[in-house]
Symmetry: C2
């Protein structure tokens, strides 16, 4: 059934009863309105435009990370950043997190300090407070569950369902790079296992490692968009792969899309490693997960404003729903997009 | 170092940077003020007295629950209720939860539906919305991580640090009952293991099972206090055992306490089973966890208002800090309280 299928199945007929619940399951975050107007117990009865955003991510050892090559500090950093990325993907600002850890006996206090120092470093960088959590023994591996709150003005929030016909499809950074970083780590792990004295081949590929081990959330892109006076019509972060995320936006917005192979932003280190490993870099860019870039749609009227923005790429446009979701190859061939993303539920590829 | 020691160690020098963070680590919940006044990006600049509360609990198979005798639906119900209990322990109202599940292969979709149906039942009963979550494969057992939001007017929030000299110490319901329910389940599990055809001895002890398997959060007590016009000076829920929780209140309020053995509310089924199993029921009442009753302190002036409240017991009073934290036995002997509670970090006793 897969992760998305199971969540959909379990939550399909849930009807919110709290007036403060504005958006429940189905986007990067839940959205709450805690204005006093909704609660007779409070003394002030003005509406406010502040919305509280909430998202959560669980990381399990052996599924989402492999401590053979992921340093604990990096793991902590990434565990926090992936949550911030979900808040930014709603055009919000992350403000608080809670951190729950399940820790087995093989971890020392120093190990947990290292993990926590990574979480704290991410929080310092993004201005987020750690406000609580739960720490308990685990019979097995390491479990990390982080929940993040954020804020946004109601008028600023960008959902997944707002893409309109002819909107431009944009993506930040580059795609498939974190996935190639994972491939590199997996390859070198096997090399090291076969020969303890082997020289690991990371030189010239440091950027791939960084993208896999220490991703950043694209707060800078939102700032650029704000300065340029552009508000996306729909937005997500790319955690499961471009194809999968685009299909979410299209299905929720009831539109189709057309993206172009030659417009996909691909890093040259990633392309070189893909060549070396006999992988198709376009497939990696479409389906590799964990890039934590922002994928969004904008009105065609914003085209001129988008062009000067650094590290932003227009990769296609929104079509009528009956045209489906397609990639146009370099030779003009039309390929139907499929969600093959790094779904941690259906296979054991690393995903978070 | 223990769970509390480790959390304290990891979070000791964290300084909140978000103006919306009013209380971070150290109470039943974190407290946030999302009034627009703190955020220049918002259009309205009035202060509001709404505070957002946040709490989180992680439950790990083999540590917090044993699926040999805990039905999945009950487990889901309890996993939600323990979070609600933390919100009520701040005198707030729970409003939203996110639910993250790590699920290993041995669980079927029907199993997860059963678990989720328990969570949903608890949400319906307490008027709480499920607004998100994460569902992923686990290499090992079942992991449940729930984060709960709630609301309270600023003036209504009760922290742990407000107990004053001569305040009355009150507790709802009864103590040690959930622990005796666990002892009963453990005993009968061994009986069943030894002889598959053995008749399990649950008759006349159903209440103990209910307290262990399907605890309720004491929303009703808060309603009674509100109607009586009483606001506690300090409050917690009893999840780790009375001694442990009282020591938290006293240390955070910088006071001592004196409670009386003959005032401790003890259920007769629990007392009978303790006798049968050769356990000291007073020790169980002091140190047994998972009762999810409310423990709070009130001004002595509220004495007359407290007396008529159903299922509420005055068990002692607050003293000067130099007197320490003591239990007065039936024969007048003074026993120093120790935190031996059901700390899931230092041992594998069931606790949530």
């Amino acid at each position: 059934m897969g992760e998305f299928g199971l969540i959909k199945h379990l939550t399909k007929d849930i009807q919110p009863v709290q007036p403060s619940t504005k958006k429940a399951v189905g986007d990067d975050c839940a959205v709450m309105d805690f204005s006093p107007i909704h609660n007779s117990q409070f003394t002030m009865h003005n509406a406010s435009d502040v919305r509280v955003l909430m998202t959560t991510d669980m990381l399990l050892e052996g599924i989402h990370f492999n401590l053979e090559y992921v340093p604990l500090k990096h793991l902590g950093y990434k565990a926090a950043v992936v949550n911030f990325s979900d808040i930014y993907a709603m055009n919000g600002t992350p403000t608080q997190i809670t951190v729950s850890l399940g820790i087995s006996r093989r971890f020392s206090v120093e190990d947990i300090e290292a993990l926590y120092s990574g979480i704290r470093l991410a929080c310092e960088k993004y201005g987020v407070d750690i406000v609580g959590g739960d720490t308990c023994a685990s019979m097995t591996g390491l479990t990390i569950s982080i929940t993040c709150l954020g804020v946004a003005a109601e008028k600023d929030i960008v959902y997944r369902n707002g893409a309109k016909l002819n909107d431009l499809i944009c993506v930040s950074g580059n795609l498939g790079t974190a996935y190639m970083g994972l491939q590199l780590l997996e390859r070198e792990k096997l090399v090291a296992q076969a020969d303890e004295k082997a020289q690991l081949q990371f030189e010239g590929k440091e950027y791939l490692l960084e993208r896999q081990l220490k991703p950043e959330a694209r707060r800078d892109i939102l700032e650029s968009l704000r300065k340029a006076g552009v508000k996306p019509t729909a937005m997500m972060d790319v955690s499961d792969g471009l194809s999968s995320e685009l299909l979410h936006i299209c299905s929720q917005s009831n539109v189709g899309c057309c993206i172009y192979e030659d417009k996909l932003p691909i890093d040259y280190q990633a392309a070189a490693l893909a060549e070396e490993m006999n992988l198709n870099i376009v497939t990696c860019a479409l389906n590799g997960g964990e890039d934590y870039e922002l994928l969004f749609t904008c009105s065609l009227d914003d085209y001129e404003k988008l062009i000067p923005i650094d590290d932003l790429y227009i990769i296609g446009h929104i079509t009528k729903p009956e045209h489906g979701c397609n990639l146009i190859g370099r030779n003009g061939e039309e390929i139907t997009l499929k969600a093959q993303g790094w779904n941690a539920f259906s296979r054991s590829a690393t995903k978070s």
